[in-house]
C-alpha cells in the first residue's frame, strides 16, 4: 500500500469534483420548470392546442436539458475514468 495518501487524495478530489459538476443540474431544473409552467398557461388559455403544446414543450425541455447532461457526463468521467488514469500516471 505505497502512495496510499496520494491515492486517497486523488479519489477524494474526484468525488468532490463529481459532486460539484452536478451543480449543473440546477439550471435545467429552473429552465424546464419555467417552460412547463408556460405550457400549462398556454393549455389553460387554449385547451384545444394541448397536443402540439405538449410535444413542443417536451422537445424544448430535452434541448434545455443538454447542459445538465454535460454536467452528468463530466461527473461520470470524474468518478469512473480519471481516478484510474491519474493513479496509473502516479505509479508509472
Amino acid at each position: 500500500m505505497e502512495l496510499a495518501l496520494e491515492k486517497a487524495i486523488i479519489l477524494a478530489a474526484s468525488a468532490i469534483g463529481a459532486g460539484t459538476a452536478m451543480i449543473a443540474g440546477v439550471g435545467p431544473g429552473i429552465g424546464e420548470g419555467y417552460a412547463v409552467g408556460k405550457a400549462c398557461e398556454a393549455i389553460g388559455r387554449q385547451p384545444e392546442c394541448k397536443g402540439s403544446v405538449t410535444s413542443t414543450m417536451l422537445l424544448g425541455c430535452a434541448v434545455a436539458e443538454t447542459t445538465g447532461i454535460y454536467g452528468f457526463i463530466v461527473a461520470l468521467l470524474l468518478l469512473f475514468v480519471t481516478p484510474n488514469m491519474f493513479i496509473n500516471k502516479l505509479i508509472g
Partner: protein, 274 residues
C-alpha cells in the same frame, strides 16, 4: 450493507476479443454490440411478421397495424420536414424503432446499447454526414462561405457550433439513458439495503431476501426506462428531421444564389454583345 458493497456501475462488458487490429486498437465485441444485434433482429422479425401475406384489401390485424405504423411515420415526417422529404420516412422510422427498442431492453435487465456512447455516436455521425451532404448541394463554395456568416471573425465559432451538433445529439441521448440506468441501479441497491435492515428478524435466508425490490421499482422504471426511452427516441428523430430540413433549406438557398449569379453574368455578356 451487502447490497451497497456489491453495487457496481460499469459500462458495456467485453464479451470476446478478436485478433483484428485497426489503427493499433484491438477490435473487441462488447455487450452493447451483441445487444444491438438482438434489437436489429427483433425489428427485422417484427417487420417480416407484420408484412407477411399482404392483401390489397387488408383482412388481417397484422396488416392494419403495419399500415397504421407506415401512415403515422409518413405523416410525421411530412408534417415536420415538408412534402418533398416524404422519402425520409423509412430512415426516421428505422432510427426511432432502433433507439426505442434498444433503450427498452433495460426492462428485461439487459444492458441497453444506448447507454453506451459508441452506439449513439454512430447514429450521430450518420446524421452529421446527411446534414453536410444536404448543405453541400449548394456547391462547396457556398458551403464554405456559410461559415464566414455574418462576419468572417466568427468562423472558428461557426466551425465549433457545426461540430457541436452531433456531439450534443449523442451526449443528450446517452446521458438520459445512462443516468436512468444508474439511478435504477442505485434504487435497487437502496431497496435491498432497507429491506434487509427492516426484515432482519426473519429466520434464515428470508432475512437476506430483498422484499422491497418487488413492485416498488415499477414506479421509477415507468419513468426512467419507458417514458425516458420513448421520449429520447422521439427527440432524436425530431432533431434529425429538423437539422436535415434546415440544412436542405440552406443548400437550396445557396444553389439558388449561384444560379442567379450565373444568369446575371450571362445577361451582362449578352448586353455587351448587343
Amino acid at each position: 450493507m451487502n447490497a451497497i458493497e456489491n453495487l457496481s456501475i460499469t459500462g458495456a462488458k467485453i464479451l470476446f476479443e478478436t485478433p483484428i487490429r485497426i489503427f493499433g486498437q484491438q477490435l473487441v465485441i462488447t455487450e452493447s454490440q451483441v445487444n444491438s444485434w438482438i434489437v436489429i433482429l427483433a425489428v427485422f422479425i417484427l417487420c417480416k411478421v407484420l408484412t407477411h401475406n399482404m392483401k390489397v384489401r387488408p383482412e388481417s390485424r397484422r396488416q392494419i397495424i403495419a399500415e397504421f405504423i407506415v401512415e403515422k411515420a409518413t405523416n410525421f415526417v411530412k408534417g415536420n420536414m415538408g412534402e418533398q422529404f416524404a422519402g425520409f420516412a423509412p430512415f426516421i422510422a428505422a432510427l426511432m424503432a432502433l433507439s426505442a427498442l434498444s433503450s427498452l431492453l433495460s426492462i428485461f435487465g439487459l444492458f441497453s446499447p444506448t447507454s453506451d456512447l459508441n452506439t449513439i455516436a454512430g447514429w450521430a455521425v450518420v446524421v452529421f454526414v446527411m446534414i453536410t451532404f444536404y448543405k453541400l448541394k449548394g456547391g462547396l463554395g457556398g458551403y464554405l462561405k456559410g461559415f464566414t456568416q455574418p462576419i468572417f471573425v466568427l468562423t472558428p465559432f461557426n466551425i465549433i457550433s457545426e461540430l457541436a451538433t452531433p456531439v450534443s445529439m449523442m451526449f443528450r441521448h446517452f446521458g438520459n439513458i445512462c443516468s436512468g440506468s444508474v439511478i435504477m441501479t442505485l434504487v435497487y441497491a437502496a431497496l435491498a439495503t432497507v429491506s434487509t435492515a427492516v426484515f432482519r428478524w426473519l429466520p434464515g435466508v428470508l432475512a437476506q431476501f430483498p422484499f422491497f425490490q418487488i413492485g416498488i421499482p415499477v414506479v421509477f422504471s415507468l419513468y426512467f426506462d419507458i417514458f425516458g426511452s420513448l421520449l429520447q427516441a422521439f427527440i432524436f428523430a425530431m432533431l434529425t428531421m429538423m437539422y436535415i430540413a434546415s440544412a436542405a433549406e440552406d443548400g437550396e438557398a445557396a444553389a439558388d444564389a449561384r444560379r442567379q449569379r450565373k444568369l446575371n453574368k450571362q445577361n451582362k455578356h449578352k448586353k455587351q454583345e448587343v
